[in-house]
């Protein structure tokens, strides 16, 4: 009788152990593996969109260097972006205002002390009057944004669509 009871208890313990293993597997799957893959998918999409945005803003920077007189012409800058959008997976936009509140494509100016051989003539508009020992430089700032539709949004953390943006400032003169 004692042997029978001992065997029964061992059998019950083994079943309980198998049950707990199944439970652990379910917990690991639901709370670790699934969120891991979902987060991975979101991460890949965001990384891909961010790479496209960086490439687009670099195209705008090159445009500004190539056409400094048109750098603040947002119609022309928009044309560059429209060419990209024709073949890109993400629709990139040029918002009217920068994150700082200024206009997208806005010019800014500063003075610097050049090397002896440097000499830069800045055409209007040139609101800054630099001392005679310094040279004025003109900079342009762009901002591009794109909306990314995430397969698994995280409420309160990562909404879908998520808006990504990249800003750059380059010297054009």
């Amino acid at each position: 009788m004692r042997q029978f009871l001992a065997r029964m208890l061992r059998h019950k313990a083994a079943r309980s152990r198998r049950g707990s293993v199944s439970l652990e597997f379910a917990l690991v799957s639901v709370f670790i593996l699934l969120p891991l893959f979902a987060g991975g998918a979101d991460f890949v999409l965001i990384m891909s969109a961010q790479a496209q945005l960086r490439t687009a803003i670099q195209a705008l920077d090159y445009f500004a260097w190539t056409n400094p007189d048109e750098a603040n012409n947002m119609t022309d800058a928009g044309y560059i972006i429209s060419l990209i959008n024709q073949q890109s997976d993400y629709q990139i936009t040029l918002p009217a205002t920068l994150a700082t509140g200024g206009a997208n494509g806005a010019l800014s100016y500063s003075c610097f002390t050049p090397p002896a051989t440097a000499g830069t003539t800045v055409s209007p508009p040139s609101p800054t009057t630099c001392p005679s020992t310094q040279t004025q430089q003109t900079l342009v700032t762009y901002r591009v944004t794109a909306r990314v539709f995430l397969p698994v949004p995280l409420p309160g953390i990562l909404s879908s669509p998520e808006t990504l943006s990249v800003t750059s400032t380059v010297q054009i003169q």
Partner: protein
């Protein structure tokens, strides 16, 4: 038994991390290759124009070579034909010397690099992931010559 389950989860986790790193490397190489190839095409044309007052469009093979040099060993050799992986799509837009329906004058190159990336260790589990990067570069601004560059 617990170790088997946890080990499997750990293995998937480790392979996932490794694959995210490889994906980032491939994406970065793709972007670098596209940006560098487009920039090289612009320099190729402008250098000729500066020296000779005229230029010929860089060929598709020149652009593909520039892409491969810039992308480096992180990506396999690219091509511009169907079925290539990575595949480059080369599109020229010539607006001539005057604005065409409001578009700015000049010659523009739109270069798209597309790459189907496959994760290691998950063969048959996950399909390949399509990566794509597009850039545009002003090859020449307004100039007085016919520039018939062929798009691939």
């Amino acid at each position: 038994m617990e170790f088997a389950i946890c080990g499997l989860a750990l293995l998937v986790f480790i392979f996932g991390i490794v694959n995210l790193g490889l994906l980032g490397m491939s994406l970065s190489a793709l972007a670098r290759g596209v940006q560098s190839a487009a920039r090289a095409a612009a320099v190729y044309a402008s250098a000729q124009y500066a020296n000779e007052g005229a230029f010929t469009c860089p060929s598709d093979s020149t652009i593909v070579t520039e892409f491969n040099n810039a992308a480096g060993p992180a990506l396999p050799g690219a091509g511009d034909a169907n079925g290539s992986n990575p595949r480059l799509t080369i599109t020229w837009t010539d607006n001539g010397t005057s604005s065409n329906a409001g578009d700015p004058p000049g010659l523009y190159l739109t270069l798209t690099g597309a790459y189907r990336w496959s994760p290691i260790g998950f063969n048959g589990v996950f399909p390949s992931i399509p990566l794509s990067i597009t850039t545009v570069t002003t090859v020449m601004g307004s100039q007085n010559q016919a520039t018939a560059c062929a798009s691939s």
